[in-house]
Amino acid sequence: MSELLQDPFVQSSALPLVVSLILVGALHLLRRPLAAAGIAAGFLVVFVMVVGLPALPPPSSMGKLFWSSAIGLLLGVAADAAGLRGRAVSAALAAWLAGSLLWIALPALDSMAAVVSVVILLAVAAWVAFARASQTHGSEKAESPTAPAASLLAIALAVGGTALIGSSASIAQMALALAASAGGFLLWNWPVERHGWGVSGRVATGIAVLLAAVLTLFTQAQTAVLLLALPALLAGHVSRFVPQGRGLIGRAASSAAVTVVAVLPALVAIGAAYALTGGEASPY
């Protein structure tokens, strides 16, 4: 069993998927509005299991990413538990994300390229914080979680694939774990949507942005290709054009279609990263 848990493929896929399914399920039973927090919580649990608990203060960018994610999770849980919405919460989310990005990026701001990268990451962070959640199909009550969760899965997949091709397997593992964690949440909301996305869900998307920052600033990976994956963040807007099926099968098909539409840009980004390396894999 322990050998299985040591396998990098298991650590990047099955383990975070199972952990996320358990955590989202537990939150579903205990406090349904907090269910989306299971994604970030699952990511942090797998991080500790695979990498270990980072020191405080963290000496490295991955350590800063962990502790920033933990703070973000607390922010998301507090906001969702209190039922908070609106611009003030978005501003708090933006402040957390911007502060985390700058904390991680500071040691690497030694070139114009790094500064430009950070500006782009801050713009994406602002989108994550302030963009309106996708509209619920036919309902005004709760925000639909499928599109934003699919966006998160796609972005995390793009970061993981780019990292794997770009000689940074540990960042790839964590990004793919985040994608699998989002997958666990999606499974809980398929074919019937049971939970809202909330602030916790947006925090999880913010963690994907932080992973992209570490990959961009501290490795040689071709992270410019991640710009090709950004359309995945528009899955919520695109979902309005996806025909809404009737009945259980119809809804299942609609949700699957939204997920596929979101993942397509990620696959394009990964393909571009592979092409830029000349098709040569790293010698792990």
Partner: protein, 194 residues
């Protein structure tokens, strides 16, 4: 009487000066990068051992040949200079998976104690700092020789050091234990008198 006392005092002072050994002071040396090698051996999934080196090494040594315990060693290694004869692997080694060279461009070693174990051998105790983590390490050190090098015409001292460190102690956990945790160190140093 006074002359006798003076002569006796003079005799005692001279005798004391003759019997007391002349203590050599520590001599300062600067590491000669052209004749210094910091190499390592790490097991690769049980199939073979990968041999690599750091190509940029610097530092200084204060060496007291007659009182080795008073000697000191300070070494700085450029982590971006890692070289395992494979560009892609070297890129991976510089990544956050291993040496995280962008965040931690330097490895440092500062000696804390030297124990003499033989005529030319000893144990070099020191603090190795890697990935922001400092841990004590012990190296088996051999003093090869010192003198004027016929090649450079400079006063030179040469040393060899061997040891093993566990990379996971420094937080470098990726791939362990499939990619070896125990890293064998092979160090050859020539240092030129400052």
């Amino acid at each position: 009487m006074k002359k006798t006392l003076f002569a006796a005092a003079l005799f005692v002072a001279t005798a004391a000066g003759t019997l007391t050994p002349a203590f050599a002071a520590p001599v300062s040396y600067k590491i000669d990068p052209a004749h210094t090698a910091v190499a390592f051996i790490v097991n690769h999934i049980g199939f073979s051992n990968v041999i690599g080196r750091f190509n940029t090494v610097g530092g200084d040594i204060s060496f007291d040949k007659d009182a080795v315990e008073k000697s000191t060693v300070n070494v700085t290694i450029d982590s971006t200079s890692i070289d395992t004869n494979h560009a892609k692997r070297d890129e991976h080694l510089r990544s956050p998976d291993f040496f995280n060279a962008k965040e931690f461009p330097k490895l440092t070693f500062k000696s804390t104690k030297i124990e003499k174990t033989g005529d030319k051998t000893g144990k070099l105790h020191g603090d190795l700092t890697m990935l922001g983590v400092t841990k004590p390490v012990v190296l088996d050190i051999t003093f090869n020789k010192d003198g004027v090098s016929p090649a450079s015409k400079l006063e030179t001292a040469g040393f060899s050091a061997r040891g093993t460190v566990k990379r996971t102690d420094f937080g470098m956990k990726y791939g362990a234990p499939a990619v070896g945790d125990d890293i064998q160190l092979l160090i050859e140093i020539e240092a030129v008198k400052s």
